[in-house]
């Protein structure tokens, strides 16, 4: 796969080289500070295998196979299995791999911070996110007000909390249900909603349609919604978190649905994650989140593309 103008060797330009160097220093400081934040909050740093036998079945995420295993698309399943083994607060910074994802905000190999904690729900997690971002800004000697992509964003809590339904009402002429029926939900999100999110403070976009939260718990009292949220800053998505589904039977049905959707689209399917499903029966209530480390580095450095905050792009290796 070639990307034309993307192949330009950055290092030829001394100005670009010195910018990249300062981004990489800042990135290292961010990673260090993330560790500090979680360790002081009694989280245990864990490492789980990157080569796995069964990634979480997702209709729109392409896992990369290596021999008879897969590179992880996220450490989610292994980390939830750890929750059942006496580790109530865990975090991990790991490399994840997703095929066919390449753009100004996407790399096929990238770094995810994931953390999981028992006996909290997605609302508690939102507060923890606010605290993390403020801590990182402080460690980087930045104020709470950031300039990112031409937008001035204040990280001071509380951030805006906007339900998916309210976002559709505010920014589009269609309803969520209509968009889902027409299969235009994603497109509407990208072109009409995302550009408005995270403009004064970061935005928590929350309560997704149940069909769009394959691993999330349904909202008690409203099973048409999943307790899932995303963080947006200046129109850019940074994280995806939720109250974790811990009903193994329900989880199997959802995985089957995702696999069926893949089969229908003619995409390769992977095996059912049986060990995860069997452990899930013992998983306590919990919430967890995946946050893109590369995009965090972009945010705190006002970088224009993800290429600028990594040591090498896939095209430069």
């Amino acid at each position: 796969m070639s990307h034309g103008s993307r192949n330009k060797p950055f290092e030829d330009d001394p100005a670009v080289f010195s910018k990249r160097k300062s981004y990489l220093l800042s990135r290292a400081k961010i990673v260090q500070s993330i560790r500090e934040f979680f360790i002081t909050r009694d989280y245990l740093e864990v490492e789980t295998p990157q080569l796995i036998t069964a990634p979480a079945p997702e209709a729109h995420i392409e896992s990369i196979s290596v021999g008879d295993r897969y590179l992880q698309t996220s450490p989610e399943l292994c980390m939830k299995r750890l929750l059942t083994r006496g580790f109530p607060r865990i975090f991990q910074i790991s490399r994840c791999f997703r095929g066919e994802e390449r753009g100004d905000l996407h790399l096929p190999e990238f770094s995810l911070l994931e953390w999981y904690r028992t006996r909290i729900d997605y609302r508690d997690l939102m507060v923890e996110c606010e605290n993390l971002f403020l801590f990182l800004a402080r460690q980087l000697n930045l104020g709470t007000v950031l300039r990112y992509r031409g937008v001035t964003v204040d990280l001071a809590a509380p951030w805006e909390r906007l339900s998916v339904q309210a976002a559709f009402e505010r920014h589009t002429a269609v309803s969520v249900d209509q968009a889902l029926r027409d299969d235009t939900f994603d497109q509407t999100m990208v072109s009409e909603i995302e550009p408005h999110l995270g403009m004064k403070t970061p935005t928590f976009l929350y309560d997704y349609p149940a069909s769009l939260g394959a691993l999330a718990r349904l909202k008690p009292g409203n099973p048409s919604l999943a307790e899932r949220f995303e963080i947006y800053v200046a129109g850019i998505e940074l994280a995806n978190g939720f109250s974790e589904l811990n009903d193994a039977r329900e989880q199997r049905l959802r995985f089957e649905k995702e696999l069926a959707q893949r089969a229908l689209a003619g995409k390769p399917t992977s095996p059912m994650p049986e060990r995860f499903l069997s452990d899930l029966r013992a998983m306590p209530e919990a919430a967890g989140i995946a946050l893109g480390v590369d995009r965090l580095a972009m945010l705190f450095n006002d970088a224009r593309t993800i290429d600028e905050v990594v040591a090498f792009t896939p095209e430069a290796v």
Partner: protein, 187 residues
């Protein structure tokens, strides 16, 4: 066939029987949603720009494009005639397909003609072409009031500004990419 993930700037694909070139491209993927490839495509025949959004799973035929060496023969009304230097077959391009290239077309000039299938759709000129000056005011020595350049006309009817020492009946080299004067051709 190309897949959506092959899309990138400069890629040439066929849509509804017409060749398009990708002029802008943005990959996006909301949440755990589908991959969306937002493109701007320019029709290589009409110049019309469209901005479709593609999804993973979409596929495209590469546009069947080729270039052939041709000699410019002549023009009549809005038609410009060229001859394939290998098999002497003659082809015609319309005025709007030739565009600014007409400023440099002189008899027997060798050019590359772009084909979509069997259909000629565009022209690539040599970077430099020598052309005869057909109209120029005489060089008034010492007259610096008019600045460093003066307007002239070339044999193709093209008008441009050149240094004052260029005279009618002489030849100059023009850069076809910028349309600007390069040098005087010494006879």
């Amino acid at each position: 066939m190309y897949n959506a993930s092959d899309l990138r700037k400069g890629l040439k694909i066929e849509i509804d029987g017409e060749p398009y070139v990708v002029t802008a491209f943005e990959f996006s993927k909301p949440g755990k949603g589908q991959s969306l490839y937002r493109c701007k495509l320019k029709n290589m025949i009409t110049g019309v720009i469209i901005d479709p959004t593609y999804r993973s799973g979409d596929s495209f035929k590469p546009a069947d494009l080729s270039e052939r060496k041709m000699q410019y023969l002549y023009n009549q009304d809005d038609e410009f005639w060229f001859m394939d230097v290998e098999n002497y077959e003659q082809y015609v391009l319309k005025e709007d397909q030739v565009g600014d290239a007409r400023n440099y077309l002189i008899d027997n000039l060798e050019v590359d003609i772009l084909f979509f299938g069997d259909r000629p759709i565009g022209i690539t000129l040599p970077n430099f072409v020598d052309l005869l000056v057909t109209k120029a005011d005489p060089w008034a020595k010492g007259d610096s009031v008019t600045g460093d350049t003066k307007p002239i006309m070339l044999e193709t009817g093209y008008e441009l500004r050149v240094p004052p020492f260029i005279e009618e009946g002489g030849k100059i080299t023009v850069d076809t990419r910028t349309g600007e004067y390069v040098t005087r051709v010494k006879e």
